[in-house]
Amino acid sequence: MELLCRELEAIRRALPDRNLLADERVLRNLLSIEERYQPPGSYFKCVQKDIQPFMRRMVATWMLEVCEEQKCEEEVFPLAVNYLDRFLAVVPTRKCHLQLLGAVCMFLASKLKETIPLTAEKLCIYTDNSIKSQELLEWELVVLGRLKWNLAAVTPHDFIEHILRKLPLPKDKLLLVRKHAQTFIALCATDFNFAVYPPSMVATGSVGAAVCGLQLDEGVSALSGDRLTQLLAKVTNIDVDCLKACQEQIESVLVSSLQQERLQQPTDPTKAPDDLDQASTPTDVRDVSL
């Protein structure tokens, strides 16, 4: 009989490095290099023949569910989607290989970011065993080659701490704002429209949406509507109107995602409350009131 130990050691994380977070040069460098890691534009028209926007959403949603269930670090999912988009922007891919590609991207992102990465075996099970571990490993090399082994991409997560520390947030709300912002970022990664925005804009818009959603402006006037947008725009050096538009788009993605979920619910009345937590919309966002 084979035994499998499911006991996991507690993940050890480094403490936030104040030298990195307080130094303006770090933020400046992030802003100057972020565009290197963006897909050059929509690949549905010119590169892909078989793959359509809704399929990208399907695979991204599945990837988010896997990452959530496996309790991956927050950066893993957006990073994996970044790999997926950059690969699809240059390699025409068959529809039936798209899920394998999504699994490979999670495999790579998880290895880069996590202490205990996802295993190939587990990822194959998540595809309902439609792919083999060996194929995953072979395609890992293909994806790496196409990304030129350039995996340390800038994601919206890299900006969160830099933005948060510039806002006059009440200390007791900081955790909540961060969590909501991270969830908005995950939501954005499921939607291709945000893939062509700079990560700093997605991050800034997500923090804006999180602060607005929590209605923190009641206590602090600097956090109200336009003043917040202006403050945020200054931090990451974004045009105020662009930022406003981006934040509105983020909020509307949340609304449509919630509507979709409501539509899906009645079709499956047997769903246990437990299952709901693994639905395509991250749980936390549902607490946000707009």
Binding site: P40, M55, S130, W149
Partner: protein, 163 residues
């Protein structure tokens, strides 16, 4: 045994997330696509560096490949500056650009590459070849063209190239 492990693993994941999104996977096709893509990487690298990474042979082209004998067990060889004597004015953007060669498995003698004016190009004879006995040490490329610019260009061009 393998399947029992699979069963145990399977019990740790929820059925709802385990799903096949786009129908049956053509495993043969997958293998062919994989090999085709890997082959195209080798071909691209071969063109870019005028070096046959599969057979470890330098080819005619912009770069002149020169064998540098590695000092055994001295990793400092990896930090050696590129040979600059043939091109005093040429900058070698080594620090900010690292690109893995497609033949990552190769462990050949440390080779350093430098761009020479075409007129001065000496014959690429036997001296440039790497003998099998000398393949113990690590190989490193020290001069490449502006990586990010070329990367952007690749991304913009390749969709059309592939059609």
């Amino acid at each position: 045994m393998g399947s029992s492990r699979n069963n145990i693993l399977r019990s740790t994941v929820s059925e709802k997330v385990c799903r096949n999104l786009f129908g049956a996977v053509d495993h043969e096709q997958l293998k062919r696509d994989c090999q085709e893509l890997l082959k195209s990487f080798h071909e691209e690298a071969k063109q870019k560096w005028n070096f046959d990474f599969v057979n470890e042979v330098p080819l005619e082209g912009t770069y002149k490949w020169e064998r540098v004998v590695a000092q055994v067990g001295v990793p400092a060889a990896c930090h050696q500056r590129p040979l600059l004597r043939a091109l005093p004015n040429q900058t070698c953007p080594e620090e900010n650009e690292r690109e893995n060669s497609p033949s990552s498995s190769a462990s050949a003698a440390v080779e350093q590459v430098c761009r020479l004016p075409l007129s001065e190009e000496p014959p690429q004879g036997s001296s440039a070849r790497v003998s099998k006995s000398q393949r113990k040490a690590k190989r490193k490329q020290t001069v490449i063209t502006d990586f990010y610019h070329s990367k952007r260009r690749n991304i913009q061009c390749s969709p059309k190239d592939r059609k």
